[in-house]
Each structure stands twice: as structure tokens, then as C-alpha cells.
């Protein structure tokens, strides 16, 4: 199985299902096991570079840590009394609070790992084709989005030209302290350029016979194969097994938006 060859729509569905299923967990074990399994799947079937993965994952490690700190230090009063694990200045860290914090932090990390699995192995154009062919996204919308998406590299170029032009003209307003003025000078011309380009591209598409007919044909077909369903079953199975393992270890608490 190669994650890059899988159908993007089914792969996305698998990831979203896992995230939704995982949202009900309020114990540290379930997200921890899912996180570990997701990382193994990504690295064995994804041909993903370690460095890139870690680079994208690192910020979320930081966010998870701060989230855990907030949960431990500002817990809800309604929490059942439990043994104090350690004393930090004026703060007491109870076992219940620490477990809750770990489960929330690990949840964030499991979500990020699942998302990285999808993002690092999915080609944007194949995703749009798949959304049209499997999810019946209107071609007008799908190609409209792809056209907009193609502007992305052009915008970097345009930004460079804009800055150069402003520097050439100078006009005594080189750098402003006022961030709103600064924003105004770069964002508005960039957006105006993008809108002009969008109008030209759409006129070109229509004049070349682009229609919104649902009976269009595709040069490239993105199909759903048995491997896609196998992947979906594998991922959902991982989450369900993580729940089973947590239940066996005595964690039965579910997250049902407790107030």
C-alpha cells in the first residue's frame, strides 16, 4: 500500500472519521495509541521525509504543552477529589487533573499526526479531481478553485514586483510605522491584481467552452480501489482498538461535552 496512490477523497474521509471518533475519548491511552499507530502508518506507507514531518509537527507539540499546562493549573472546580501528585508553588496538581491534561494534549497531537498523514501524501490536483469524480463537487466550483490556486506562485512574484516598484518610486514613504498603512500599501494592490487576474482567467475559460455540464469527461480518472477501503478499515480499526485497549486498562470515561 502506498498512501500517495490512494484515492484522496476516501483518504480524507478516513482521517475525518478517525478525528471524529477520537473526539469522544477523554483518557490518555486512546489518543496515545492512535498517535503511535498513525506515526507508524505514515512512516511505513507514506514515503514521508522525517525532517519535514518533525518540522510540521513541532509547533503542535508546543501548543499541546501549553494546553496541558492550562488544564492542570486552571481545572474546573467540579472535578472529583483525587490524590495530589505534586505541589508547584501555590498550585496543586491532582492525579485527575494530570490525566485530563494528558488526554487533551495527546488528543491535539493525535489530530495533528492524522492530518499530516493526509497532507504530506496528497497531491492538490488529484484531490480536486477526486472531489469532482467521487463527491460530485460541481466542476464550476472545482475548476474555479483550481484556477484560483494556480495564482499562488504568481502572487509571490507580484509581491516582489510591487515592493520593487514602491522602492523605485520611493516618494518619501519608504517604511511606515503605521501597520495599517503598511498593510494598505501591499495588501490592496495584491488583492486588486488577484481580482483582475481572476476575471481574465474566467473569461478565457468561458470563451474556450467551459461549461458546468455534469456530463463532462475527464482526461485523468481518479478511481476508488479495494486498497482505499482497506486503508479506511485499517485507520478506523486503529482507533477502535485504542478504545478497546483503554477500556481494558480501566479507562471508561468518555468525552460527552461535560459541563
Amino acid at each position: 500500500m502506498d498512501l500517495r496512490e490512494l484515492n484522496p477523497a476516501v483518504k480524507g474521509l478516513a482521517v475525518i472519521l478517525c478525528v471524529l471518533l477520537l473526539s469522544f475519548a477523554l483518557n490518555p491511552v486512546t489518543p496515545l495509541l492512535t498517535l503511535a499507530a498513525t506515526v507508524i502508518v505514515t512512516w511505513s506507507f507514506g514515503r514521508v521525509s522525517w525532517g519535514r514531518w518533525l518540522l510540521l509537527f513541532a509547533p503542535f507539540l508546543l501548543a499541546a504543552c501549553s494546553y496541558m499546562a492550562a488544564t492542570v493549573l486552571f481545572p474546573r472546580e467540579s472535578m472529583a477529589p483525587s490524590p495530589v501528585l505534586l505541589q508547584l508553588g501555590g498550585f496543586e496538581v491532582t492525579r485527575a487533573a494530570a490525566e485530563l491534561a494528558a488526554s487533551l494534549g495527546l488528543r491535539v497531537l493525535a489530530f495533528s499526526a492524522l492530518s499530516l498523514l493526509f497532507i504530506l501524501t496528497t497531491d492538490p490536483t488529484r484531490l480536486m479531481l477526486s472531489l469532482m469524480q467521487q463527491c460530485r463537487m460541481p466542476p464550476k466550483l472545482a475548476y474555479g478553485i483550481l484556477a484560483g490556486y494556480q495564482f499562488l506562485p504568481l502572487m509571490q512574484e507580484e509581491f516582489r514586483i510591487l515592493r520593487t516598484a514602491q522602492r523605485v518610486r520611493d516618494g518619501g514613504f519608504r517604511r511606515s510605522r503605521n501597520p495599517l498603512l503598511q498593510l494598505h500599501r501591499t495588501a490592496i494592490p495584491l488583492l486588486a491584481g488577484a481580482i483582475r487576474k481572476a476575471e481574465r482567467v474566467s473569461a478565457a475559460m468561458v470563451s474556450k467552452g467551459f461549461t458546468d455540464s455534469p456530463y463532462r469527461t475527464f482526461y485523468k480518472r481518479v478511481r476508488v480501489t479495494a486498497a482505499d477501503w482497506l486503508f479506511l478499515a485499517l485507520m478506523v480499526g486503529i482507533v477502535l482498538l485504542s478504545y478497546l485497549a483503554a477500556w481494558r486498562l480501566g479507562y471508561t470515561r468518555l468525552y460527552n461535552g461535560e459541563l
Binding site: 473526539s23 503542535f60 508546543l62 501549553s66 492530518s115 497532507i119 484560483g148
Partner: protein, 196 residues
């Protein structure tokens, strides 16, 4: 999904707006992560309004049913295409946020695009996204005072960073003349041509 009343031109313009703001959103996501490192969960709340801005701008320019919702969803999808670690679930979050703004525009039957409506649309997104975030991010574990404070900050951020800033950007764009053939430009001309 029905897109009657939407020309291809509207869709491409909307999606190019969404592409620009998807980049902005990702930038702010990084800023948010850093701020969260310093301020805890409050770090995101201060900035949260910025993530609704494309809804306000697209609805204000195009003035069509669905503009607020669709532009936000497309921005979310483009963020996923560019690649970020929040992942496909971000499209669902974007959907919820867009729905909040769309609900406000729908309540005026897509007739009012005043400052008040635009700020309310920002607040609508804030409310919807907070309810969604409550379940997804586990706010339930935080103390009530903190959650309430986060909610208020998000409402203010939605009204100011999305509603007011969004309107200001769209008005500045209209002044350049590129929006002449869109409803926002037509309205401006009607206002200028009217006898004083």
C-alpha cells in the same frame, strides 16, 4: 450543491480571494501557535476574528447567497492544499465559521450589508466557531471563568478583526476600481451618481 446565480467569474474571483486569505490564515495560525505558547488558550482568541474575514469580504463584494459560507470553506480547503498540520478537519471548522456569518446575512435576506450587519456576521462566526471549538478542543476541561473570558474575547475579535477590518479592506479595493462590475461597485456608483 446548487450554484444557480453564480457565474464562473464570481466563483473564480471568490476563490482567488480565498486563496489570498488562506495564506493570511496560515500565517496567523503560526502567530497563534506562538501566542498560545505565551498566553495559553487565550492566545488564539485574540486573533480569532481574522479567520472569519474572507466570509465578510466575499459576501460584501459579491452579495450573493452562499458567498460567506463558500468563501470560508474554499479558504479552508486551500489551507489544506497548501499543507498545514490542522488538516482536513479544518474544512469542517471553516464550514462552521462560514455558516455563522451566512446565517446573519440570510437573516437580513441578503439585503443589508451595513457596518452593523458585517460586524454581526463576524460575531455570528465567533458564536458558531466557539460552540464547535468547545467540543473539539476540549474547553470543557477549563474553568468556567476562563471559558467565558475566551468567549467574550472571541466575540470582540470577530466583530473588529472580521467585520470592521473586512469592510475596510473591501472598501479600499472598491476604491481602486477593480470591483466596478460587482454589486459592491454598482452600489458605490449609485451612491455617487445620486444628486446631492
Amino acid at each position: 450543491m446548487k450554484l444557480s446565480g453564480w457565474k464562473l467569474r464570481d466563483i473564480v474571483v471568490m476563490s482567488s480571494l480565498s486563496v489570498v486569505f488562506a495564506v493570511v490564515y496560515l500565517l496567523f495560525l503560526q502567530i497563534g501557535v506562538v501566542l498560545t505558547g505565551f498566553m495559553g488558550p487565550m492566545g488564539y482568541e485574540v486573533l480569532f476574528g481574522i479567520w472569519f474575514i474572507v466570509s465578510i469580504i466575499a459576501a460584501y463584494i459579491l452579495r450573493k447567497p452562499g458567498a460567506a459560507l463558500l468563501s470560508e470553506v474554499v479558504a479552508g480547503a486551500v489551507e489544506v492544499l497548501i499543507g498545514n498540520a490542522v488538516g482536513p478537519i479544518l474544512i469542517l471548522s471553516a464550514f462552521v465559521q462560514g455558516l455563522g456569518a451566512e446565517a446573519v446575512f440570510a437573516a437580513t435576506r441578503y439585503r443589508s450589508y451595513s457596518v452593523r450587519t458585517l460586524m454581526l456576521a463576524g460575531i455570528g462566526s465567533a458564536v458558531f466557531s466557539f460552540v464547535w471549538g468547545y467540543f473539539r478542543s476540549g474547553f470543557a476541561a477549563l474553568s468556567w471563568d476562563l471559558v467565558l473570558a475566551m468567549f467574550v474575547v472571541r466575540l470582540v475579535s470577530g466583530a473588529l478583526l472580521a467585520g470592521l477590518l473586512g469592510r475596510w479592506i473591501a472598501d479600499s479595493l472598491a476604491r481602486t476600481g477593480v470591483l466596478r462590475s460587482f454589486p459592491i461597485g454598482k452600489e458605490r456608483r449609485a451612491r455617487h451618481d445620486a444628486p446631492a
